[in-house]
């Protein structure tokens, strides 16, 4: 067994045990040996996101979004079997899909008391950056899967999860993402090609003309 394979197995075991420290360490070793290992590239960046100051979370998340496309590309070009490649893609989808919403939630929870009022620690620009890059990342992840695994119907189904989440979040945050360059209708059409029963979620209540009328 080569060093790289050994470290990769150790990294996967650590990931399954939710031991982020060891997982990051072993993925870093794999990445150093083979810079074109897509799994290590993504998960190293993912575990790096957990470390550092809260104020840099948005930038670390943007860095994670940037490695999505190359990671999927490297995974598709690797020598592993098709089922192994799909398992890695599924792991990436499972890990990345909740991140945008969770980051915003986490950032919302960071508050400080100023006199009698509670204010958010992070600036509004950080929220917008995470929202925009997150939705872009979700769409791009689905696009990359479809682009590099176009022959696999199972991979096409995996692309649905990030696309659906992207459409859901874009509809939920329609006010912030109103001048966004990607349209939810376009991705709804893409989803409906694979899953015809899918319907686009409604826009959030605060996008309506009468927000609190019910």
């Amino acid at each position: 067994m080569s060093e790289e394979t050994k470290y990769l197995k150790l990294a996967r075991a650590a990931r399954e045990e939710e031991n982020s420290e060891d997982a990051k360490k072993f993925y870093d070793m794999v990445r150093t040996d083979d810079p074109e290992n897509g799994e290590a590239k993504f998960f190293y960046q993912y575990y790096s996101m957990y470390e550092g100051k809260n104020g840099e979370l948005a930038n670390r998340f943007v860095n994670l979004v940037k490695v999505l496309d190359p990671s999927v590309k490297f995974i598709s070009q690797s020598n592993e079997s098709e089922s192994e490649k799909l398992a890695v893609i599924k792991a990436i989808v499972d890990v990345f899909t909740p991140l945008t919403w969770s980051n915003i939630r986490y950032m919302n929870n960071l508050t400080v008391k100023v006199g009698n009022t509670t204010e958010k620690v992070l600036p509004g620009s950080d929220f917008t950056l995470v929202q925009k890059s997150g939705v872009t990342g979700l769409y791009d992840l689905g696009d990359a899967i479809v682009k590099y695994f176009s022959r696999s119907p199972e991979a096409m189904k995996l692309a649905l999860t990030p696309w659906k989440e992207g459409v859901f979040l874009q509809q939920k945050w329609c006010y912030i993402l109103k001048n966004f360059n990607k349209s939810p209708e376009e991705y709804t059409a893409k989803i409906q090609k694979i899953e015809p029963s899918y319907t686009m979620p409604q826009k959030a209540n605060w996008c309506a003309n009468k927000p609190y009328d019910r």
Partner: protein, 151 residues
């Protein structure tokens, strides 16, 4: 960065998505028979409000103040029950006929209309109305999902 807090938020994600899926699939319908029941009930309510005082005055030998108290008690008890029942049926009509885009504006679980029905079943009329008003204009506010059962 506090990793434990972040992991807790990640766990909440799946709960929130279940709620979102519930809201997406929510499609409450009521059988057609309910409308006829509604009409019968309304007629019964009107007849009773007029008929009970008439019967009390016409066929009892009580003094006038006793008659007035008896009528008031009967009307209060009956109208509490009747208004609550009518309210529930009216809300069910709203759930059936209102546009999805109006009904989806609610961000809570259970939805405001379901909450109103539960309140009307559980509490007296005035208490229920106060709770429904609080739910509509105070709790159901903002953009995040809220879980709020009548208690």
């Amino acid at each position: 960065m506090n990793q434990d807090d972040y992991k807790q938020v990640l766990k909440d994600y799946h709960k929130q998505r279940e709620i979102a899926a519930y809201q997406e699939k929510r499609n409450l319908t009521i059988p057609r028979t309910t409308y006829s029941i509604l009409v019968i009930l309304f007629a019964a309510f009107v007849l009773s409000v007029v008929g009970i005082p008439f019967l009390v005055f016409r066929f009892t030998n009580l003094p006038v103040f006793a008659k007035a108290i008896a009528i008031s008690l009967i009307v209060i008890v009956f109208s509490d029950f009747a208004f609550r029942y009518l309210g529930i049926k009216t809300i069910e009509c709203y759930q059936h006929y209102a546009k999805e885009e109006i009904r989806r504006r609610c961000i809570c679980v259970p939805s405001c209309s379901e909450y109103a029905i539960l309140c009307l079943k559980k509490y007296e009329l005035v208490h229920a109305l106060i709770k429904i008003h609080h739910r509509l204009y105070v709790t159901c506010y903002g953009s995040d999902y809220i879980i709020d059962w009548p208690s």
